[in-house]
Symmetry: none
Subunit: 214 residues, 4 copies
């Protein structure tokens, strides 16, 4: 199969090829794919995966990192364009943030697995790297919020963001049902649980931000 990747660029490309394959398979199956499948899907051999990742968990974290980076990038541009009045900011942030989250359809399913996976096999170093990325993004985006929203005192930007994320992850887990269950929810007795994630998220975030900014 693939020719040798001798220089750093080729290596980075190859690493990315594995990640893309993993991402693709995960999207299709909603399950962490086996290493062998990732390799086949990337057109390389099983053993080669281990030249680029020390363990299966490391692949998982890299996937998650990708999505978080994308989320932080999206936040950056959303925050840059925030209106200055509290209500306007809350409304617009909620709308755009919800859109951004929906544009990253793997982020929440992956993040939902994180607790289980991270407790298992992951060596400290990649774990630290992952958390450092989160911390960095959070710090930076937190500061950005504080610049735009003078109502928030120092440090409270990051806190608001953390709460926003918690709400997002929790709502997704509470409202994401497998298809067969979805149908059951039409029952009047269960109707109260039959809510669309996107709608609920937008209104919850709006409320949270409104509360925080006033």
């Amino acid at each position: 199969m693939g020719r040798n990747a001798m220089n750093d660029t080729d290596k980075a490309l190859r690493r990315r090829a594995f990640l893309d394959a993993a991402h693709r398979l995960y999207r299709e199956r909603r399950e962490l794919p086996a290493v062998a499948e990732i390799a086949v899907s990337a057109g390389l051999a099983k053993g080669t995966v281990y030249r680029y990742f020390r363990s299966k968990e490391e692949i998982f974290v890299a996937l998650l990192e990708d999505d978080f980076e994308a989320l932080f990038r999206a936040l950056e541009s959303i925050l840059a364009a925030l209106p200055t009045d509290a209500t306007g900011a809350a409304v617009q942030f909620a709308r755009r943030y919800t859109r951004a989250v929906l544009d990253l359809p793997d982020l929440l399913p992956l993040a939902s697995l994180a607790n289980g996976v991270l407790e298992q096999n992951l060596p400290l170093e990649p774990m630290r790297h992952f958390k450092a990325g989160l911390a960095g993004g959070l710090t930076q985006a937190g500061k950005r919020i504080e610049q735009h929203c003078p109502q928030l005192s120092r440090g409270h930007g990051a806190t608001l963001l953390l709460q926003t994320y918690a709400l997002t992850l929790g709502l997704w887990q509470a409202l994401d049902y497998p298809p067969q269950l979805r149908e059951l929810l039409r029952d009047p007795q269960l109707r109260i649980l039959d809510r669309r994630f996107s709608t609920e998220l937008e209104s919850a975030v709006r409320r949270l931000w409104q509360g925080a900014l006033t």
Copy 2:
């Protein structure tokens, strides 16, 4: 070993014995125990488990149901004693709710596994039963809130509750770290992630309710 359980009372007791054993083992190990262990710990045999539960997932859901019932009971008494002014209600609810959540140490870890487990094996019937319990509790508690908080129009009590729960689950997952990782967070660069769940939860809930009631 156990005599045959012929009447319904005996059956219910036996079912409960398995659940108690499972709960106990889960609390000790923070891991879903193997069916064989549950059986041994309940003083019965492995095969017998399957006369009371169709699958391991069904045990899991029953466990979760227990904890949710306890949470709803706690909510009941918290809501019954809620002050009528918005701020007072928010402050008191946040404090008491946080306490109640901490008193159910298995609820959040179990709930965090729910998405993964439910997507897998669970037959529709126990799933429906579980969801019906949730819906019932949510409806009832939602109404109770609406009685105490006239600011909330019809149906918004349940919504607020759902958001509260989402915040709880999401924060727990974001802030629960394995011990070794916990130490890493002392690093100044990661300090921003080093937050206590209980503190964060209380303040986030307070803010959410304040926003909802004003």
Copy 3:
């Protein structure tokens, strides 16, 4: 496949079936067979093996134990019929012992693997059991020798036996060649290594015993 083995007799038979299968496969391939193969060859399933042995190593030790027991049984009858004069005893023991060893064609290859295997995975308990069997056999046979050979003071029977075994194992390893190598040894330069194990063993043991008894 096989019906359930509910009572102790059936269970013992089943355990033996696995051991026989393992023995058979080892003899064919001169390599420790994979667990899956043992199971298939015994007409049962892979998982079933683990109801009877805690690990692959435990199978190995059981095999070895079988052969050592057989060797000790053979020793028993050889020693019972030993002439009383030193030379006669040495000569007869050497001849019969060599015959007994040749009648256990797996003993030495298996024993040659023992050091490697035992250092690896074996839990203490089966290890202890194995060693206890060896110690018991050695003690008993040692006493028997001392009864027949008054030249040997207390404890020296076991020592002589241990030396005899060491000589056996060492000679086998030094003189057992894979077939292709065997041909090379016809070269005059290598002729000195081209010895038959059985001949060398018999004469070495005779010499050792002669030395010990006089």
Copy 4:
């Protein structure tokens, strides 16, 4: 990294560097080191190993050859100084030989692996080379013995040596226990197996030689 080794001296040096690295690693870990580690430890690259050895087994045999050569050298000087009387010769040989064996702490562990390794992968040529070395050493040392011990007729020097070696290897395997097992042997029931290799070896060799020389 290493410059190209163009002439024979450089090549020999490089080969030796690999062997020294392998030897060093084996001594540290009591396990045949991975090829990659040998390469790194020798300051060269993995692929380079295969320019000097056709397979991992070939490295192993070369290691063993080193140790056997050292043993033969030691024998040479031990035999040169042998007393002429049978008892004196036996006593002194046993003492010095035991010392020599203990001075080569890798010889016996390596030799114990030999049967397993040699049966596997080794091409004929290095195998022949190895055996030729053994045969040569054995022949020469055998003759030396015969010179010093007129009791031994032609060819019996080598035979005695082979028996001595077999006793050594067998005793080592029978008496070398992993540390955890060692403790078990304190049990009175197992005490009979709790013997020091060096003591046993010296007395067994003394007896063997005494028997051979009288």
